[in-house]
Symmetry: C2
Subunit: 249 residues, 2 copies
Amino acid sequence: MQNAKAISTPDLDQPPQKKGERRQVHEHVLSRMRRGLMVGAFLPGQVLSLRKLAAGLGTSPMPVREVLSRLIAAGALEETANGSVAPPRLGPDKLEDLFSVREVLEGMAAEMAARKATPALIEELTAINTKLLVAIEKRDISGCLSFNQEFHFTLYRGCGSDVILPLIEALWLQFGPTMYMSLLVPSMPWNAADHGAILDALKKGEHAAVKRGIVHDIRTTKRALLTVLGENGMADLPFAARSDLFGDF
Amino acid sequence: MQNAKAISTPDLDQPPQKKGERRQVHEHVLSRMRRGLMVGAFLPGQVLSLRKLAAGLGTSPMPVREVLSRLIAAGALEETANGSVAPPRLGPDKLEDLFSVREVLEGMAAEMAARKATPALIEELTAINTKLLVAIEKRDISGCLSFNQEFHFTLYRGCGSDVILPLIEALWLQFGPTMYMSLLVPSMPWNAADHGAILDALKKGEHAAVKRGIVHDIRTTKRALLTVLGENGMADLPFAARSDLFGDF
DNA sequence: TGCGCCGATTTGTGATCTCAGTATGTGATC
DNA sequence: GATCACATACTGAGATCACAAATCGGCGCA
């Protein structure tokens, strides 16, 4: 996953079209779909239709097919029996597996990033965290998800390895839909408490503490997720996907 | 990457066609390409043409496009400036990054597998290792690669997590072409010494020792790879890809 | 009222076609 | 003999087409 464009696009939605680089349709589709997966446009298990998706995006099915292939390869989507695709439903044990890998991978990335952290990076992270706190205060689910993701990935990008980053991104895309659904339950707590400790450790140059902070943050999220999904008997929560992003399916 | 079919196919080449499952063309293409990447059909940096690939595989470009998309998402292929694809050229630092992630991920998988290891699994691994030793004795490069891969993945499959396995597979696909090229250098040593220690630790139920064995094995491979590629000044080795698998390009 | 069958519709898959951008290779000219 | 220009061939991207399987709907029968 060394090419950053493989799965992760720098989130350019408006056709920037700078330089000789032609803006490809499938790049646009990819960034839309990736964001959609992270902010609740698709529910776990919700079957996505190729043609309807293409219609919603205003293109032919071709670029969508390319994107779906990539998302399947990343584990962000699963093939159903008849070849359709849907975001994965994560059971307790799979969720446990997923978050164990997150701990290892993101802990590693965080520690590496801490070694190379510049004051500018720390300042950037602090600013993002402030926006996250505001979003939490306002009960802005999409804001929470976006700023939390931005906080983590801004840190991880600092590790300087373009091998580990796409792997982490694949993991996030896998639990994104489940994460969003869980946040629709009012009792689901959002905890950004660890971020403060991470920033402190970053400023003090305590690499191991940064790693511990990230791992603790991941464990907290995992526990909350397991609790909420467990309370609801692992059955699907009776919520609908956001239709303001792609239309209905 | 939870669906095992996402990137990794159970290597079914002959149309098994059992049950109601339709054998899809792109699955066949995917398994061919994956094996090709691991046994030297493509060299690092070698540009692959969509149409020629399709012609070599006897299909239309469509299934190939789908497969290339998935391999790009896995990092097994990179997009060139004009949209073509090629296996990545791995420089020393990227190789270092890649193998660091391997240590963490495969170490984790190995330890988990060790906890669940059954006598049957250990016996299977022993048999594979025997075949590997024969291949080494015969200087059979393809055999070495295949059996070594089979040894590792048979162990990792025992970890019972279908989250971590596709990530490891993606990493192997990334360094596969570079690994093959390095083996063409006569001075490249192949070391399966750690496998014996791993099997011993497995039999004794020493989980940590299994993990240590895997990590040591990975470190040894990394060192050998860096040495061989360094000697040749990181320039491309003047070897050709195997044309007996896909034809020439 | 409940169950089963049949047809219309929608599904993904693969092939084909067009188009624009790029590389190639050959020719003429200096 | 070297270099530049133009024409040809080839590249991937996207749209469209064709087909078969599966799904969903409604109708008819028990």
